[in-house]
């Protein structure tokens, strides 16, 4: 039979996991401060600055407007500048991170806004400064929903790597296109899809478990 299947699959999975892990990490590092700034600079919040808020919101919307495949193409020169090539998983991490960061920023914004404003007011009334409120109140209070949001983001980034795979990034997406589609290798197509399904299920399970664990610790049951 096709003894190359497993080897191809493992290489692809490895590349995908590598891309997803690093892109998520970089996108989170970029997106977390942006999300916090989006919330904190909002009118009436701890670092009120409506103009900064609006400007940042507009930039984030602009980047999010790009279809993934176009964003990757547009950012290829940047990838070449940073990692020296436009091909392969490492090169794809540059556009993937930049593409996912605004999404993560919006997700973090949403999670932080779920924290009731009364808690922020209570901390303000105690005489806490804005940074303390963000670090000691907003983020810990929103932690379970941040974990859930991040899980959604990881699943989204897995989808983005598949798109990147079609234009030279490697990974499972590339495998499905090059072998499954172009060479009519149905076995590879099916194996790729099954692997992706398992990967997404695993991520979702892990995220749910972690969020539930935090909630249980705080005696919040849903």
């Amino acid at each position: 039979m096709n003894d190359d299947l497993l080897e191809l699959l493992f290489t692809g999975l490895g590349e995908t996991v590598y891309m997803v892990a690093l892109s998520t990490f970089i996108a989170f590092v970029l997106g977390l401060p942006l999300g916090i700034i989006l919330v904190a600079t909002e009118k009436g919040n701890v670092l009120e600055a409506p103009q900064i808020n609006k400007a940042l919101g507009t930039v984030i919307n602009a980047i999010r407007s790009f279809p993934t495949v176009i964003l990757i193409v547009v950012l290829l020169p940047l990838a070449r500048f940073i990692v020296g090539t436009t091909l392969g998983a490492t090169a794809a991490i540059v556009p993937l991170s930049i593409g996912a960061a605004p999404f993560i920023a919006r997700m973090i914004e949403n999670c932080l806004k779920e924290v009731s404003f009364g808690k922020i007011e209570a901390a303000t009334a105690i005489g806490a400064d804005p940074l303390t409120i963000i670090i000691k109140v907003l983020i810990p209070e929103a932690l379970p929903s941040l974990v859930r949001g991040l899980t959604i983001a990881v699943v989204g980034i897995i989808g983005m790597t598949a798109i990147a795979g079609t234009i030279g990034a490697g990974g499972l997406g590339s495998l499905a296109i090059r072998f499954g589609y172009m060479r009519y290798r149905d076995d590879i197509m099916i194996a790729t899809v099954v692997t992706l399904i398992l990967l997404v299920q695993g991520v979702q399970l892990g995220g749910d478990f972690l969020a539930n664990y935090i909630n249980r610790k705080r005696y919040k049951f849903d």
């Binding site: 009334a125 105690i126 005489g127 400064d129 109140v137 209070e141 932690l143 705080r218 919040k220």
Partner: protein
């Protein structure tokens, strides 16, 4: 202890300007329990929230412990707030922190000596009667217990003043009573000045010495609590009293009392 002079605050909506507070003048003595009563929308919450500038007043002066709150810059205000405790109707405890950490939070914020935090928190837990709940999380507690934690948190930094924003409005009558007893007790033990706003006459009757009635953003009556019950002058005061009497009359009629 607390002087409010010509305080004004407007809310500007797209279509109109609402006078939330107009020319408020108040005087609260040290160690007093001062009640501010009014119907919903009268401006009582805005007033108490102006006292620690959770709401920014438009004009006027607020002097607490000799300092004008209204002219302070952010840094100065932050320090002043550490000496003004506040409790809320919805408690506003931090769900991510247990009872001990919630009460220790203001101490950490104000740079209280680390090795003394534990002792101070335990002391205050004893005062509010929750010594056995230090490791519990807010979601495990009943409403009354949550408000006790709220009071403990407000008191941990040894404030001069305690502001109570409808602190008992979300509690059942029995719990309300026990929280009021606790406030009374704290007032006596610590000599703490308490300002509370409420729409419950029982709260006034039970713990306040002096009070003010607020109606459409204006103080319409001001004086001792006895005077309010014996000789209500303002429209709001009369309505409050007549509602109370109406209920009592209705009840005696139903129960056959006095017939």
């Amino acid at each position: 202890m607390i002087t409010v002079k010509d305080l004004n605050k407007d809310y500007i909506t797209p279509h109109t300007r609402i006078h939330a507070l107009s020319n408020i003048n108040l005087q609260v003595e040290k160690g007093d329990i001062f009640g501010i009563i009014g119907f919903s929308g009268a401006g009582k919450s805005t007033l108490i929230r102006c006292l620690n500038r959770l709401e920014e007043p438009d004009s006027g002066k607020i002097i607490i412990a000799g300092q004008d709150i209204t002219v302070m810059n952010k840094q100065h205000l932050k320090l002043a707030r550490r000496k003004i405790g506040m409790i809320f109707q919805q408690f506003n405890l931090l769900d991510a922190k247990n009872v001990f950490e919630n009460i220790a939070f203001p101490l950490k914020v104000s740079g209280y000596p680390k090795n003394k935090i534990k002792q101070r928190v335990e002391e205050i837990l004893d005062l509010v009667g929750l010594a056995d709940k230090a490791k519990s999380y807010p979601l495990q507690l009943s409403g009354g217990q949550k408000q006790r934690v709220g009071i403990a948190r407000a008191l941990s930094n040894q404030p001069d003043v305690l502001l109570s924003d409808e602190a008992t409005s979300a509690l059942d009558p029995q719990t309300t009573y026990s929280i009021l007893e606790l406030l009374k007790d704290i007032n006596k033990k610590l000599g703490l000045t308490i300002i509370l706003i409420t729409h419950e006459l029982d709260v006034l009757k039970h713990i306040c010495n002096n009070m003010a009635v607020i109606e459409q953003g204006k103080i319409v009556e001001n004086g001792s609590v006895e005077k309010f019950f014996l000789n209500p002058e303002s429209d709001t005061a009369k309505r409050f009293i007549s509602i109370l009497q109406g209920f009592q009359a209705n009840r005696s009629y139903k129960e056959g009392g006095g017939i």
